[in-house]
């Protein structure tokens, strides 16, 4: 049995060649390190690809939120392939449609628009996490 308790697992896209991949990763870090560190855990997609037992257990036994960087939806597909159920899927493209003023550029380093988009997405994810973990916190805790 893992010691994850009721943590929500966050699985971002591991995209390397497009700016939305970087946005998905930055949003995941914001949630797991800044906004909800006690309630969330980041699981790397590469571990799921390899079939790592601990990573598979994490996504199969905990509420899992995926963040996909493109329409190929690797994060969502890999969680499902690994025996997990996606509690909620976020996509960067949808987030961009909701926040068109934040135009993301850059892969190694996001521009200001990319950082703002990641922050907006992270706030949405944090709210979802609150719903799954039942702590009822609002954005003001972020």
């Amino acid at each position: 049995m893992s010691d994850r308790g009721q943590k929500v697992v966050i699985v971002p896209c591991s995209g390397i060649g497009k700016t939305f991949g970087t946005v998905s990763r930055e949003a995941a870090y914001k949630v797991t390190e800044d906004m909800r560190p006690a309630d969330t855990e980041l699981v790397a997609l590469s571990l799921l690809v390899l079939g790592d037992e601990d990573a598979r257990e994490a996504v199969s036994e905990h509420a899992t939120v995926t963040i996909d960087g493109c329409k190929l939806a690797c994060a969502t597909k890999m969680v499902q392939e690994s025996g997990g159920t996606v509690a909620q899927q976020f996509t960067v493209l949808d987030a961009f449609r909701r926040h068109r003023q934040f135009k993301s550029q850059g892969i190694a380093e996001l521009n200001e628009g990319g950082k703002q988009l990641a922050h907006a997405l992270a706030e949405e994810i944090a709210a979802a996490v609150d719903g799954f973990s039942g702590n009822g916190r609002g954005k003001e805790d972020a």
């Binding site: 060649g17 870090y29 790397a44 590469s46 390899l50 190929l72 994060a75």
Partner: protein, 246 residues
């Protein structure tokens, strides 16, 4: 021989988000793709070997591949071999950190100076492997990695976007060979190039066709005749389709 697309080297980074070394792999891969060897390299996201289609899984059989891993779990190297093809070479960041006596990289989101130095060393090492695979004499990984670690180059040049193969897939075609359906990598491109070169399907080009297909596909010697017959049949069908009135 037809002018097939230029052979490139595929870079597959683990991109492990839970470790600073994973960030090193991603940034090192980007540096090779965008700055050090932009004309010679292409990449794909590791998860596409499972989440993608057959064309994505053909990646490491089409491109000789360098796997770049952050730790000794070697997710990129092992998953590439399991689902696509054995990498031509691989590198593990934690091994390079030890070998070059670098300080431990820290910071998954923002690498510290040691992490940036590890990026330089890893990128130099990978660029050297690319040169080796492409048969270039400059492929002295250790020298290049040391040089890059000592003198970090300015990054003021115009940005080149990494050539990302995600979703584009490698062109494949299923062919019946002696009653068995096999998947042949790059066949549509080979046919296209031969047709553009004015080659007509026939015995006089059969050997050439087989040899080009063998560059990208393992064909057992004892089955070469069966493959040749199948390839000629498929190429004839391709030409007929190309030349049919619209």
């Amino acid at each position: 021989m037809p002018d097939l697309p230029k052979k490139k080297v595929g870079i597959v980074a683990c991109s492990g988000e839970e470790l600073p070394e994973g960030t090193v792999t991603r940034l090192a891969a980007l540096k090779v793709l965008e700055q050090l060897r932009p004309a010679d390299t292409v990449t794909i996201c590791l998860p596409l070997f499972l989440a993608g289609g057959e064309g994505d899984r053909a990646f490491a059989r089409f491109y000789p591949t360098v796997a770049v891993d952050g730790c000794d779990k070697r997710c990129a190297a092992r998953a590439t071999e399991m689902y696509s093809g054995k990498p031509a070479a691989s590198v593990v960041v934690s091994d390079l950190v030890a070998e070059y006596e670098l300080e431990q990289p820290e910071g998954k989101r923002r690498l510290n100076d040691a992490g940036q130095r590890a990026v330089e060393v890893t990128a130099g090492w990978v660029a050297g492997l690319v040169d080796d695979i492409l048969g270039r004499p400059a492929g002295q990984q250790a020298e290049l990695a040391t040089e890059l670690a000592e003198v970090s180059e300015p990054e003021g040049e115009e940005a080149v976007v990494a050539t990302c193969s995600c979703g584009s897939g490698i062109p494949i075609q299923k062919v019946a060979v002696n009653g068995r359906v096999v998947t042949l990598i790059a066949l549509p491109v080979i046919f296209q190039q031969l047709h553009q070169a004015g080659k007509r399907p026939g015995d006089d080009m059969a050997r050439e066709l087989l040899e080009v297909v063998k560059i990208y596909n393992p064909i057992p010697r004892e089955e070469e005749q069966d493959y040749t017959e199948a390839l000629l049949r498929e190429y004839a069908a391709f030409c007929e389709k190309q030349e049919a009135p619209a």
